[in-house]
């Protein structure tokens, strides 16, 4: 039971980081960046391809590669679309996602690439007669540290203040001097770095990286930011956490019926959204359209 709770918190933490990365970009650009999945994938490939390097070097490289790719996405694909409606940007992000998957397929092949990354984290230890995996504890610690650091960045720094202001009203933020190019680029770079952290904990648990490696977690993280509230970074992180934790617990609770874990999770998501249509932390009521 303790391991199940730790796993739930651990998976929740990972999804919270993924949702935060998506939420940051959504906040400043109103872009649901579906291609966030490919940032996780490229960071995962980097970890696998550099597994023979010291772990720290490998992790730093994966952060750099994912951040650079995020920056390139912004510069080459999204910058010209800033004034476009959200549907156009979403479709372009699908396009970027598919294009990158195909590029990964050409470069790394369609079959999974695998390597043991951070082998020291794959073991288990016993506390009071209960066996606990090292990976779950490390993941929780990493998620807490990164989330606290992100909380500090967003709540206590000038960059964070500008990100919050831009998420609320970008045009007014620009009128006050907030440099739009620099701020959006920063959001993408941070989003890429968060994708690399997500990649690391995922690769430790499942070192079989294929071109669609980041897809599932990104889809569920997207569900998370809707559940938490798309206009709130805290909401994104909370929603991501809830989705990850609930999914993990359902896998345990349902036992042999775990094939239905996704179905039950989406039932829970629908119930939450029926009660709080704008998301858990959203301050805004939904507008009646019909």
């Amino acid at each position: 039971m303790i391991q199940a709770i730790l796993d739930a918190v651990s998976l929740g933490g990972v999804y919270a980081l993924a949702a935060l990365g998506l939420g940051l970009v959504f906040g400043v650009m109103r872009l649901v960046n579906f291609a966030h999945a490919e940032l996780i994938t490229v960071a995962s490939y980097t970890l696998v391809m550099t597994h023979q390097f010291p772990l720290v070097v490998s992790i730093v490289l994966s952060v750099v590669v994912a951040s650079l790719m995020a920056l390139l996405m912004e510069l080459l694909a999204y910058r010209r679309l800033r004034g476009s409606n959200p549907a156009t940007m979403l479709i372009v992000s699908f396009g970027v996602s598919v294009l990158l998957q195909k590029i990964y397929e050409l470069v790394f092949g369609a079959l999974p690439r695998s390597a043991s990354v951070a082998t020291g984290l794959t073991g288990a230890f016993t506390v009071g007669g209960v066996s606990i995996t090292t990976a779950s504890v490390v993941t929780i610690v990493l998620a807490v540290v990164i989330l606290l650091a992100m909380g500090y960045l967003i709540e206590r720094t000038k960059l964070g203040l500008q990100l919050r202001a831009a998420a609320s009203d970008f045009q007014t933020a620009r009128l006050l001097g907030v440099r739009s190019n620099r701020l959006i680029a920063s959001a993408f770079v941070i989003s890429g770095a968060l994708a690399a952290v997500v990649a690391f904990v995922n690769v430790v648990g499942n070192p079989q990286v294929d071109p669609r490696f980041g897809l599932d977690i990104t889809i569920l993280a997207l569900v998370g930011i809707v559940v938490g509230g798309m206009n709130s970074l805290r909401g994104s992180a909370l929603g991501g956490f809830i989705v990850g934790a609930v999914l993990s617990l359902l896998n345990v609770i349902l036992g042999n019926g775990r094939v239905y874990a996704y179905s039950w999770m989406f039932v829970i998501v629908i119930v939450i959204l029926l009660v709080r249509p704008g998301g858990i932390l959203s301050k805004f009521a939904t507008k009646e359209r019909v």
């Binding site: 000038k158 202001a165 609320s168 009128l175 907030v178």
Partner: protein, 239 residues
Amino acid sequence: MTLFEVRDLRAGYGKVDVLFGVSLTASKGELIGIVGPNGAGKSTLFGAIVGTVGLRGGSVFLDGEDISGKRPEDIVRRGLSLVPEGRQIFSGLSVIENLTLGLTGRRDKHGEKGALERVHDLFPVLTTHRDHQAGMLSGGQQQQLAIARALVADPRVLLLDEPSLGLSPTVVKDVFDRLIAIAESGTAVVIVEQRAHLVTRLAERTHVLRAGKLQATLTKEDAADEAKLTAAYFGNSGE
């Protein structure tokens, strides 16, 4: 000496032209009014000046430098700030966070503390509510915050779009008294108002904007003549 000049400005949205060659000037410490009915193009004029509405012709000069077509974040750094219509404060942020954002557009980063002290002197209520959420302030306090947020950038020219909107007469008088003080300190203040009488009493010159063109320019004395003001505002018939 002219500090701020708009020369033959033309702007619009999509296929619709809104401004058809607007020209005006302001000198250091001058308070200038722009009045006109709904749809005259007043907010479009300010949007075109600060770079949020695309220009179709003409120029904007600040202290001799052509700033037309520059990005909003670059224009504020050159010393031109806008207090937008409806205040547009960040209601989810605190008062001090709103003011801190205003500092982003300063050219002189060393003077930030002094700038905050000056706006706290001008608007003491902001000190009292320093850590309160801006959305919880009254309408008048929010307007003061919006003006203070623009002022901390140390603008040479301050544009205000409908600063009286949604405010009671007492609060409006209070806000306009502060604007006079700001102009007296050397900042050129340009106020757009739909309620003409609010600004004509104070402004050295009031331009009447109608159908995207400046139709008349009134001095304080001209504007005191109700018939003259009405004729300029609505056209010759005064209807």
